[in-house]
Symmetry: D2
Subunit: 406 residues, 4 copies
Amino acid sequence: MKKDIKKIVLAYSGGLDTSVMIQWLKENYDNPEIIAVSGDVGQADELEGLEEKALKTGASKFYALDLKDAFVEDIIFPCLKANAVYENVYLLGTAFARPIIGKGLVDIAIQEGADAICHGCTGKGNDQVRFELAIKAFAPDMHIIAPWRTWELKSRDDEIEYAEKHNIPLKINRETNYSKDKNVWHLSHEGLDLEDPMNEPKYDDILEMGVTPENAPDVPTYIELEFEKGIPVALDGKKMKGQDLLLALNEVGGKNGIGIIDMVENRLVGMKSRGVYETPGGTILYKAHELLETITLDKDTQHFKQHVGIKFGELLYNGLWFTPLREALSAFADKTSETVNGTVKLKLYKGNITSAGISSPDTLYSEQIASFGEDDSYDQNDSAGFINLFGLPIKVKAMQDAKKQK
Amino acid sequence: MKKDIKKIVLAYSGGLDTSVMIQWLKENYDNPEIIAVSGDVGQADELEGLEEKALKTGASKFYALDLKDAFVEDIIFPCLKANAVYENVYLLGTAFARPIIGKGLVDIAIQEGADAICHGCTGKGNDQVRFELAIKAFAPDMHIIAPWRTWELKSRDDEIEYAEKHNIPLKINRETNYSKDKNVWHLSHEGLDLEDPMNEPKYDDILEMGVTPENAPDVPTYIELEFEKGIPVALDGKKMKGQDLLLALNEVGGKNGIGIIDMVENRLVGMKSRGVYETPGGTILYKAHELLETITLDKDTQHFKQHVGIKFGELLYNGLWFTPLREALSAFADKTSETVNGTVKLKLYKGNITSAGISSPDTLYSEQIASFGEDDSYDQNDSAGFINLFGLPIKVKAMQDAKKQK
Amino acid sequence: MKKDIKKIVLAYSGGLDTSVMIQWLKENYDNPEIIAVSGDVGQADELEGLEEKALKTGASKFYALDLKDAFVEDIIFPCLKANAVYENVYLLGTAFARPIIGKGLVDIAIQEGADAICHGCTGKGNDQVRFELAIKAFAPDMHIIAPWRTWELKSRDDEIEYAEKHNIPLKINRETNYSKDKNVWHLSHEGLDLEDPMNEPKYDDILEMGVTPENAPDVPTYIELEFEKGIPVALDGKKMKGQDLLLALNEVGGKNGIGIIDMVENRLVGMKSRGVYETPGGTILYKAHELLETITLDKDTQHFKQHVGIKFGELLYNGLWFTPLREALSAFADKTSETVNGTVKLKLYKGNITSAGISSPDTLYSEQIASFGEDDSYDQNDSAGFINLFGLPIKVKAMQDAKKQK
Amino acid sequence: MKKDIKKIVLAYSGGLDTSVMIQWLKENYDNPEIIAVSGDVGQADELEGLEEKALKTGASKFYALDLKDAFVEDIIFPCLKANAVYENVYLLGTAFARPIIGKGLVDIAIQEGADAICHGCTGKGNDQVRFELAIKAFAPDMHIIAPWRTWELKSRDDEIEYAEKHNIPLKINRETNYSKDKNVWHLSHEGLDLEDPMNEPKYDDILEMGVTPENAPDVPTYIELEFEKGIPVALDGKKMKGQDLLLALNEVGGKNGIGIIDMVENRLVGMKSRGVYETPGGTILYKAHELLETITLDKDTQHFKQHVGIKFGELLYNGLWFTPLREALSAFADKTSETVNGTVKLKLYKGNITSAGISSPDTLYSEQIASFGEDDSYDQNDSAGFINLFGLPIKVKAMQDAKKQK
C-alpha cells in the first residue's frame, strides 16, 4: 500500500459506503485531507444535503459538479446516434455516466493537487473499470484507491459497525435494499431476490421512474419527436434542450410503463449478473431514432451500422469512452447522422411503443417505387437480370455438383 | 421468349393472379400442360378447394405438398437457433417459407419432366428472388417464367378484365385489399394506406392472427417453454411437436397482442418498402430463446453470435438458404446450441413479454460469484490487476500524449 | 431501345472497341452526335493521338480530362488510409479509377446537354457496374448505353470486320492480347492462357511496370517514406506531391520485382475470374502504411479497422464509392489517421519488402514496457488478477461442467 | 501465498529459468515434491538430456509428453482450416503450442495428485495467459504458481547468482540472447536490439530455420501440395502424415527464404511488443490453402470467412482455445472445408511464393463463364437489370437529393 498520500479526491455519494470511506482513508493513510466530489448526472434528491454531510463526516472540502447537460449532450446523444446497445437490450445507463464523472474527478484532483483518487465501487463490478479507465485517460500516473477490493469490511453490517464504532453520524438503518444507480437516463436495480434468475422481479416494489404496464393508463398517449442530425430537438412541436426533453420523456414514458427491462448480462470482469433497468425516456428516444433511420439511411449504411452499434455498446459498457476507437466510431456515426432529420410520431400504451407516422425531408422511401403499381423509375423486368447474376454462384455450384455426380 | 415449352409447373395459390396465369401461359406458350402445385406451409383455409379450382381453370394436374412439419423443423428452428432477424425486428416469416416451397416446385418439375417453372411474384419484391434461387440450387438450367415482370396486365383491374374475357370462373370482387402472405409462422400486410409511412396502420382492420394490445385481456397469461439444444420441445410441461407448439403459441400470443410489428424495410431489389407483420408465436419463441441463451452461452459466444444472427437474417431475407455459407453458419449455430437447454417462464400481457424465470442445467450464471457478498471463486483484488492491464493502452497513450506536449 | 437520342457522351479509349462504337451508335441511333471523352488517370502513352483519332472516326468533339491528381489525392489516398483491400490481396487498381472517370463523364454530359452516356465495358465484368453507379449518383435519370451487352458483335474478329466494312480507319492487327487496364496505380492482365488457373502466368511476356523477382537486381534498395495523417508526403527525405511520389515508387518497386499478384477473384456479377496485377508502388505504400499503423494505432482500433478495411475494399470493388456508407467509413478512417505520422524505412529486394525501421512522434510502442527488464509502469503481478478475471468464464464453465458430471 | 503445497507440476524446459525454479519452489514452499513435465511440440534438440537435468536439479520425476502429432493434427490443422492469423501477418506459432501443453500439465497434475502447477512465463507476456486458461479449462480450482510475477530475481544475472549460490548444476554462460520459442511450426525471436522498432533485424545472426532471401538459391523450387477437406495430405505426390509434411515444408521453405516476418504486435496484456518469426512451412501451407479456397469457396463464404479468420486468430492469440466460441467457429470452418479439395503447385524463390497452378474437383471457377467469349450460361444483357437494381439505392438517393435542391 502506497503510503505518502496527503490529499485524496473521493467520489462521494453520501451513502454508507463513501461516508465510512472518509474515516477509513484517514485511518489507513496517515490522516490525509479528503476532498469529496459529487458529480450530478441527474440523480436528483440523492444530492441534497451532501455538502453538510461530507464535511460533518470528515471531508475538508466538497465539490458538486453539475454534469447534467454535458452528460446528455456529450455522452448520451453521441451514443444514441451510434445506436449503442449492450447485448441487444441494455441501454447502458450506468455505463454512460461513468466516464464523465471519472473525468470530473481528475479535473478536481489536478486542480487540488491531490495524490490519489478514491472510489467506492465493488471489486466485482464494471464501474470500477469505467472510473479507472477515465482516470487513466487524463492522469495516467494518478494513484487510485478502491477500498472495497481490499478492506476488511465485507458486508453492509460490517460497515455499519465500523460507522458506529467511529461515531460516523449517519441515519443508519439495517434494512438492506437493492443496489441502485440513478441518473437522468436511467435507474438500475441489482441484488437480493434478483440474484436468482428464477425469481420474477417484484416490480411494484422496485420501480421508481414509472409503473408497470398493468398500472399504466388504459388509453394511449401520442407524442411527436423531432430530430436534427440524429439528435432530438423538439417534443410535441416544442423546441427543448436535451436534458429537459429527456426529463419530459421520462415522465410520459414512465407513466405508460415504457422501458423496463430485466436481463442477465455479461460483466466485463467475467461473470454474469442480473439487473432490472428503468429507462423510460431513453427507450422512447432509441425507438424513435431507429424508426427515423429506417427511412433516412440507405440499406448498406443501416446494415453496417448494426455492427457498429454492437461494438459501440461494448466499448461503452467496458468503460472505453476516452479511446481512439470510440472517437473514430463517433466520426462514423456523425457522418451517417447528417441525414437523420425528421419527425416521428409515437403511440405509447402500457409498455408498447408503436410508430404512428414517420416523415423526413431526407427520406429515401419512395412510395412510387415501393408501390405495387407501375412506375417510371423501376422496370420490373430488370429483376430477371438481377436474379440471374445475384444467383450465378448458386447456379454454378449446382452445375459443378451435377457434373461431379456424373 | 423461349417457345418450346410443353409442360409448366406453376406455383399455385388459387388467387386471382395464378388463376389468370394458367390461361395466360396457355395462350402465350402454345398451349402447354400446366401442373398446379401448392405448398402447404400453414396458410390453412386458403388451401381449401384448390384442386377443383385449379383443374377448372385449366390445370391438368394439381399437387398439394404438405410442407408444414418440414417448414417448422428444417427451416424455422434452425433460424431460431441462429437468432436470425432482419433489420432488428423482422422475423422473416415470408422469407422462411420460400426456399422450401421453391424446392418443392423443383421436385415436382423433375418428377413430371416439366420444361419450366412459373411463379406469380411481382417484379418488385423479394419473393421472386427467393423462389428462383431455390430453383437454381436444384435445377440450375430450369427455365423460369415470371409473368408479372413481362405481361401486359399492369393492375388488378387488368387481371379481372382478362379473367372475364377468358371466362375464367372466379369469385371475383373488385375491392382491393392489402397484399398478404400467410403461413404457420406469420401473416404479412402490405400496400394501400400502408404505402405511406406517415399513416398509422388501421390495426383493427388489419390484424387476423391476434388483437392489438388494447383489445387484449386485462390479466396476464403465464406460459412455460422448455428447450433442448436450442429447440422448443414442451409448452407448459406438455411435450409437443414443433408445429403444434407453434400453433399453440400463436393462439396465446395473438390473444395477448404479442408480435405485431410495423416497419420500413430494405428489400433486396433496392427499394424501401413498408409492411405490418404478425408473428405472435414466433415472437414468443425468439424472446424465450434469447433469454435462455443469456444464461447458457458464455459472453464471447453471445457477442459473436449477435453478428452471426444479423448475417443469418440477411441470408434468409435474400433467399440464400441453400448456400454453403448458410450451411456453415448453421453448423456454428448447432454447436452453440448444444448447451441451450432449460426452461423459460414468461408473462404475456397486452403486447409485452416479460421474463418470469429462467433455469437451465447448463447455466453459466453463478449466483455465488455474481452476489455482492464474499465468495471463494472470485478475489476482488484481482480486479486491480485486471484494470491495470485492460487499461494499459489508455495509460500508454496518455503518457505518450503527455510526453509530446512537453 | 430508346430512340430519341441526339447526343451521346462516349467513354473513349481509342482502342478497337470504342472506335467501332462511334460508328455503331451513329448507325443504331439515327446518327446522334458523339462526344468522345477520355479520362486521364495515368494510362500514359495510351492517350497520345486520341483527339485526332476520335474526330477521324466520327466523333464531333473530344475532351481529355486530366484526373491524375484527383485520382491520387481523392481516391487512392483515402483508400490507403482505410487499408482497402479486396479478398486479401487485390489492391483495387481498376476499381479505384472507375468512379472518378464516371463522374467526369457525367460532368461533360451535363455541360454538353447529352441524352446518354455510352461505355465500352463488357457485360461480364465489374467495370460496367462501377461506371454506371457513378453515373447514377450524379445523373440518376441519364440514359446509359452499353453496346457489348446487346450488339451483334460477339468477338474481336466481328469488330474488325465491322470496322473494315465501315472503313473505320484503324491500325488493326488480328493478334489477340491480354485484356489490360492501366493507370498510375496499377496494370491488370486478364484473358488468354490466364483463363485457366492451372496455367502459371508467363510473367516475362506479361509484365510491363516492372520485372519478376528473378530479373530484379541482386542487391537490395533501401527507401524511406514519410507519412502525415496516413498519407505519404516524402520519399527519401524529399517532399513530393502524391502523383510524383507514386510514380517514383512504381519505378523503384517495379525494378525490384515488387507488387505482382496472381489471383482468382469473385466478381460482383457472380463469377470467379483470374487476373494478374502489377501494383509496384501501391504495394510499397500499403506495406509502409500498415507498418506505421502497427506503432501508431492502439489495439482496439487496429483490430476493428481490419474489418473496416475488408468492407471498404468490397465497397470499392463493387463501385460503391459515391455512397453514404463509403463516406462514413472514410470519416472513420480519417479520424484514425490523425496519429498515423512518422517514417518507415524499407528494404526492397527481389519481390520482398522488409521493414528496416519504423518511427513516429505518435508511437504507442513503449520500449520500457515491452522490455523483459523491470519498469515502473507495469507491475508484473497485475497479470495474476488479469488472468483470473479474463479467464473467469472458462473457470465458471469448467466448474459448472464438473457439477453436472456429479 | 498459499502454503500447504506438497506436490507441484512444473512446466519444464531445462533452461535457466525452470532449473532455478525447482530450487526456488522447494525453498519457498516447504520443500514440495517437484514433477518436471516437458511437452514435446517439436522443439527438437532442446529436449535432449532433459530428464537427467531435471532429476539432478531437484525434481523427483520427469515426464516427457510427445505432443507432436496432436499439435499438428488437433491444433495447427484446425487453425489452417479457419485461416487463423493475428494482425494480418502473425501465424501464431507460440500461441498454437500453449493450449496443448497446458492441457498436458493438467493431465499429469491430476494423475499425480499435485496441488499446484508452476510455469516459467514472464508476467509481461501472453504465454502466462495461454497456459493458465488451458489449466482453468480442465482444473478450474488448480493452484497456479508463476514465480516471475512475484519473485525477487529480476534479471538473468539474478538468476545465475541464485543458481551459483544454490549449487544448481548448469552449464551457465552470462551471454544474453534473444528470447526464443521453438516448435515444429515456428521459431520466434524477441528482445535485445529488436526492442527498438527502428532497428533492422540482424537476420544473419537470428535465423535458424532458414536463410534470408539474399542467401537463398538463385533458382526456384517447385512443389505440389494436395489437400483433402482443407488439410494437406500429400507433398509432391507423396502421401505423408501431417508432422512429416510440415517438416518437409520447413526444410524447403527455410532453404528458399520463405516465411520470415518482423512485426510489432499488440499483446493481450495491453502492450505492444516486437518480434521476428520464422514459419517457413506454415507460410507455404497458409498460402496454398488460401489459393485453393479461391476456387473452391463461393464468394459469400470467402468474404464472411475473412472475418472468422480474424476472430479465430484473436481467440488463439489470447489463449482461448478450449472455449465454446472457438469450438463453434471450428464447426463453421469444418463445414466450409468440405469442398476444399485439390492440388496447388507453388514456385518458391527467394522469399516469394507464387502460384504455379491450382486445380480442384470442387472448383467453382468456370472458364466458360469467366471467358470474354460468348457462353450459354451467362446472358450479358442480364447485367443491365442487375445494375439497375443493385444501383437503385444510389439512384433514389440522387433523385431525392435533386428534389430537395429544388
